[in-house]
Chain length 273, copies 2
DNA sequence: ATACTAAGTTTCAAATAATGAGACAGAATT
DNA sequence: AATTCTGTCTCATTATTTGAAACTTAGTAT
């Protein structure tokens, strides 16, 4: 409960709320609108917001003026604006490792005929940067940007395990530890034990922790200087493969991440707070 | 020259610069970084920025803290951050008309075997929301978010022609009128004359105005209340079709936009300033 | 129709945060 | 070793943000 508030008001940095002044507050409002998943009214935002009405109102006005939000006068609702789409295009093509990784992801996906995902971490959440599904042609587009919890996905654990200690601790504090399935880790302790194993093995598994029937094997993308910049996962369903059978994908997966890591050499690590 | 400054410093609203306070300034810095197309250093930004060094520095810090920018400590460069990708995913799926339009775009593209584009307008620029190329399988992904000038593209003119007068005038003021090809309109007068014809005809053409060899036919997406919320274009090359032959696409194109317009009924017009 | 309620908007003085000249530190270059 | 250039920090000044309260408008119930 309290954690939610912290996240909304400002980005929590090492346990301390860093509001980043007015800009941070405005961006937290932007996040809130985006997280609603549908156009929302001022009143709805007010319920969960920590800002008083006029302040929230002013932020919405400003963000709308700026094109970061889109206001529907008839419904009096706010939704994320197109300017974000424009900005994200730049982000995708320069900031993320997607362009570098894409050919490797594609190769892996088509050789295995399984879904291959590329993700980075942002503020404790897994953000999918690219997805490839060789089996189903014309799979879902526009999936880049989707988010998932880090603590109960293979791709999330692969990244968490190889983060520097302070960043990892911070990220773990941000996890919600909701129990999605009987296999979900619900405590930091359980997660840490799992991460320990991942560190040793170099590979993370999703043992139906996020969704029953879905399993995955994931590996971190490490730069030559051993910094983790993302992860790749191969996801499949239990009716196609047993968990143990995923082991067979290990060599191909490690090949893939190693190649990406090498090419990402001259690359910018996502600078998390 | 001066216009550029205005755009950078704040969003120009009806000829007056609306800085939107600190938030607007910070976002203008974000835009500037994104528009550079590659990771940039503080010094480079300083050259074109109107902010003094410490101020710019602070904005970059704030935006980085917020995950809107990504800082590479080794190169000391800033690039757009992943948080944008996450936010844009929300924007794409709720704010844009992409989800509504997608099936229609797809149908059109596959029936014609030509490239079909969906775009909206943001701050005078065309922002592509979706693209479909039936001919080349596995065409470029992550194109949503790309921008193009409005005054010399079919899709841009289709939107401009049907904007309310004040918004159109404002948008026209924002055009750069660079001469890309011999056919490019280089004055507001020439553009207005063209738009007049588009209003009458209901269809806009790109007569190799942006790129030699590339032509297109475009139509606005109008809501039942006759508000333009975007446009669809069919683009092709002069070595495949002559400009006059595009006329043959008219019925299919109008069908497409009418259907999208009808479904977008309950939709939020992009609230431009 | 009229009163009532709730959501959205505006006002304005107090509180707070942003500002930028200048100083400083560190790296790269001469 | 001296110089230059870039990035970072400080702090008094200045301008902006803030939010309680008042006001307006739209919707609902009486």
């Amino acid at each position: 409960m309290w954690r939610w508030l912290l996240v909304v008001v400002g980005r929590e940095v090492m346990g301390v709320v860093a509001t980043d002044g007015t800009v941070g507050k405005a961006l937290s409002v932007l996040d809130q609108v985006a997280s609603m998943g549908r156009p929302v009214r001022l009143r709805e935002l007010l319920e969960t917001s920590s800002f008083p009405k006029p302040t929230l109102y002013r932020f919405l006005q400003t963000l709308t003026n700026q094109g970061m939000l889109c206001y529907d006068p008839e419904q009096q609702t706010y939704a994320p604006g197109i300017r974000l789409v424009r900005l994200a295009h730049s982000a995708w093509s320069q900031a993320s490792l997607a362009p570098v990784a894409r050919p490797h992801i594609e190769k892996l996906a088509s050789s295995l005929r399984e879904a291959v995902h590329l993700a980075q971490i942002d503020n404790g959440q897994v953000v999918f940067i690219d997805k490839r599904q060789a089996s189903t042609r014309f799979a879902t587009l526009a999936q880049p940007g989707q988010v998932a919890p880090a603590y109960c996905t293979g791709i999330g654990k692969a990244i968490l395990a190889f983060l520097p200690e302070d960043e990892r601790d911070h990220a773990i504090q941000q996890q919600a530890f909701l129990q999605y399935t009987p296999n979900t880790h619900t405590t930091a302790q359980a997660l840490l034990a799992d991460l320990k194993a991942v560190q040793v093995d170099g590979i993370a598994y999703d043992r139906e922790e996020h969704e029953v029937g879905i399993i995955s094997i994931a590996a971190p993308i490490l730069t030559p200087s051993n910094r983790v910049v993302g992860a790749v996962s191969i996801a499949t369903a239990t009716n196609r493969y047993a968990l143990e059978e995923l082991e067979a994908f290990r060599p191909a997966l490690l090949d893939c991440v190693n190649q990406i890591g090498a090419e990402a050499q001259s690359w910018l690590p996502p600078s998390l707070p």
